[in-house]
């Protein structure tokens, strides 16, 4: 069984479970369900049993467990559980994993949205995002992509793979369509093809120098349909002046605050 079909299976099974709940429950009331997605590379079976036991004792109600041994991941469906309880359980699970999972684990928390029984795609999105999640000690909350931002795209041009990957994930979770380029030339190609709403670019790139890239971007897009945010290590006044002269909309320096960057991007849209 390859990995892709395993993913399908997990979200399909989640959808099936919610669907059953809907049909066998009170159909006038929307299904309320907290979802706890857990991945653990080491001690998978042990983890499964431990989490199942933990939830049962804490909640005094068993959870519906959908295990996917191929992906070393499992979904725990907590029907009729208030949000606060789901969150509390997630914290407990995290504490538990810290002890047994040897670092490589991830926990994601989601809440079934209204009329989920008609929307299998939602489950697909949840599992897909969870699959991409790197091992982390933090609990990740799933926010649904808002319909309004669905079409908004961000082009990220940065030579640093780590920064790129991190921002890509964060912006994706914010609901943007994220295009990433590792150098100036690739960035320019993507810009031409996709016409993104926001360009976030470093000044220090390989292939094309940053200032020239800015001129080219403005030259290709004279009525400034795309907003440009310069996102760079360069903290020199003169460089900022030059960039604003070239028509950029914002200038964020590294080391950066992700919240700050996101807020600035949001404001430009």
């Amino acid at each position: 069984m390859n990995n892709v079909s395993a993913v399908r299976k997990l979200n399909d099974r989640m959808y099936q479970a919610v669907l059953e709940k809907f049909w066998f429950g009170d159909r006038k009331k929307p299904v309320s369900c907290g979802i706890l997605l857990v991945r653990s590379v080491h001690a998978y079976d042990e983890m499964l049993e431990a989490v199942r036991g933990l939830i049962e004792t804490e909640r005094r109600l068993p959870a519906e467990v959908l295990a996917d041994p191929a992906g070393r991941q499992a979904a725990f469906l907590l029907f009729d559980s208030p949000w606060s309880e789901t969150h509390y359980l997630a914290l407990m699970v995290k504490g538990l994993l810290k002890n047994i999972a040897d670092g490589e684990y991830a926990v994601m928390l989601a809440r079934v949205k209204d009329r989920a029984e008609r929307n299998p795609q939602w489950f697909e999105e949840v599992v897909e995002l969870f699959e991409q999640l790197p091992a982390t000690e933090e609990i990740v909350l799933f926010h649904e992509r808002k319909a309004a931002t669905e079409s908004q795209s961000v082009l990220l041009v940065d030579g640093d793979e780590e920064v790129r990957g991190y921002l890509q994930l964060r912006l994706k979770m914010k609901g943007y369509r994220v295009l990433a380029a590792r150098d100036g030339r690739q960035g320019l190609d993507l810009f031409r093809r996709e016409k993104p709403d926001v360009v976030v670019t470093d000044l220090n790139l390989s292939g094309i120098d940053g200032y020239h890239l800015l001129t080219r971007l403005r030259g290709e897009d004279p009525d400034a349909g795309s907003k440009i945010v310069v996102f760079t290590d360069n903290r020199v006044e003169e460089a900022k002046r030059k960039c604003f002269e070239l028509g950029v909309d914002d200038y964020v320096t590294k080391p950066f605050s992700p919240a700050d960057l996101e807020a600035r991007i949001e404001r430009l849209l």
């Binding site: 094309i208 760079t232 020199v236 006044e237 460089a239």
Partner: protein
């Protein structure tokens, strides 16, 4: 005759002992110096530092003479360095090919009329300055032919920033090279007048988009020997010299200078090769004469990749030119020789260069004659002779391997084990002919000097993307024994 030969033998023995002692001391100093350099570099965050306003702006000066094949690629690469504020000034030194036109076409340059050039030092008059606001960091200067030194002087006259950096048009800088050098400058901005960079041989490496992607050893024999020679000179020699502030040369391929002092000493000397050594000698002289505290630093982790000559003809022409330049510089500055007023530089660096670099061929040659004499007069004790040869070889080999070890400890640019072993092997092979050729070329250079041959010698150009052919660059190595 016997007496004479015996006396000579004694003298030469001391000579060899002295030179070995110096080399080993330098190697020792290199090992000591590299440790603090590496530690400093490891704890520096260059990515962040490159955007800090504390790093001073730099003007890169790129003299170009008949470089139409490679210039675009190199300028593009120079424009994407990891540094917050710098400009690239390409000086077209009256090229006979289309160097200027290809630059104008590639970067859509227009003549810049509002640029006033302040002639702080003498140089051939600048005909025009080309510029394009879409490439705000690039200036192209057009002037009549006047030589490399003259081009650098013209570039200095146009430059807008307090630090200048000379770069050969056929060399590639690593993205971090400038900020690594600036870090060394920032350690002591008041006293640092010049910083040398590490020049490495790019032959055999995979180069894409103006970046050295995969470091490999050259496949041809001449660049291979030069790779080892450069490693030895730069790592085993220059780090040590810089440790005692006795560096006599910062390679013309990649060196950074404080503009105000370069202007004070009158810029680069025109009309003769060896201008890169000359400017450093002038700086030493000026600072010591005026009793100013100063240092000429060396930064081994700032790397410039250059194309080494890969045919006998071009290599010999390059080495003859170095020989000429070295002799000229030593003759011009003979008053520094053992002059206590000039401290380490006058008492150590210059005498070392005169005795062990400039005069080296004569010692080697007379040594050979003496050897013939010994054999002819039946004075040889073969076991002793062989012991001497073996000791000599071991000395040299130990130094070569020492610099390789330094490379492996500190930089590890050659990731493949096979390459390392190959270098260890070739370091031994160099004793069979290559060093001897070096002596011969230097001697030929001296002969050219006496005949007042003042030309630059042969060069060829080929694009970076093809199998590189290379040309003589202006790096002088100081350490062939």
């Amino acid at each position: 005759m016997r007496e004479l030969l015996l006396g000579y033998g004694t003298v030469i023995m001391y000579y060899v002992m002295a030179v070995s002692l110096i080399y080993f001391t330098l190697m020792f100093l290199s090992y000591r110096g590299i440790y603090s350099m590496i530690k400093g570099a490891v704890y520096s965050r260059f990515q962040s530092l490159s955007g800090s306003a504390h790093a001073p702006p730099v003007s890169l000066l790129v003299p170009a003479y008949n470089e139409e094949l490679t210039i675009i690629e190199n300028v593009k690469s120079l424009l994407t360095l990891n540094y917050h504020t710098y400009e690239v000034i390409v000086i077209n030194d009256g090229s006979k090919d289309n160097t200027l036109q290809v630059l104008i076409d590639a970067f859509e340059l227009k003549p810049k009329t509002d640029e006033t050039v302040h002639y702080a030092i003498d140089s051939t008059k600048i005909k025009a300055v080309y510029y394009n606001p879409a490439h705000p960091n690039l200036y192209v200067v057009d002037k009549n032919n006047g030589g490399k030194a003259d081009s650098l002087n013209a570039g200095i006259n146009l430059s807008h920033y307090p630090l200048i950096c000379s770069i050969d048009a056929d060399s590639l800088l690593e993205k971090d090279a400038l900020i690594r050098m600036a870090r060394v400058y920032m350690e002591n901005p008041a006293e640092t007048v010049a910083i040398g960079g590490n020049v490495r041989i790019a032959n055999g490496c995979v180069i894409r988009d103006g970046d050295v992607k995969d470091v490999r050893l050259p496949r041809k024999i001449w660049p291979m020997f030069q790779t080892l020679e450069y490693l030895k000179a730069f790592l085993g020699g220059r780090i040590g010299w810089s440790h005692i502030n006795g560096l006599i040369i910062v390679s013309g391929a990649f060196g950074m200078f404080r503009k105000d002092y370069v202007v004070k000493v009158g810029g680069y000397r025109e009309g003769y090769p060896g201008e890169d050594m000359n400017i450093i000698i002038k700086l030493h002289r000026y600072m010591l004469k005026n009793k100013l505290p100063y240092r000429v630093a060396y930064c081994p982790d700032a790397v410039c990749w250059t194309q080494a000559p890969d045919t006998y003809r071009i290599l010999s022409s390059q080495r003859k030119r170095w020989g000429r330049g070295n002799l000229k510089n030593m003759l011009e500055n003979r008053d520094l020789f053992l002059n206590p007023k000039y401290k380490v530089f006058g008492l150590l660096t210059v005498p070392y260069n005169v005795l062990f670099e400039t005069l080296n061929p004569y010692f080697k040659l007379t040594g050979l004659l003496a050897l013939i004499g010994y054999v002819a007069m039946d004075m040889t004790h073969w076991p002793i002779l062989l012991t001497f040869a073996a000791i000599n070889f071991l000395n040299g080999y130990l130094l070569a391997v020492g610099s390789l070890l330094l490379e492996e400890l500190a930089f590890r640019r050659y990731p493949r084990m096979r390459d390392t072993l190959k270098m260890v092997g070739f370091a031994a092979l160099m004793f069979l002919g290559y060093y001897q050729l070096g002596v011969l070329w230097r001697l030929q250079g001296h002969i050219e000097f006496l005949r007042k041959n003042n030309s630059w010698g042969v060069m060829t150009r080929q694009s970076w993307n093809q199998e590189p052919i290379g040309k003589p660059s202006t790096v002088t190595t100081g350490g062939e024994a």
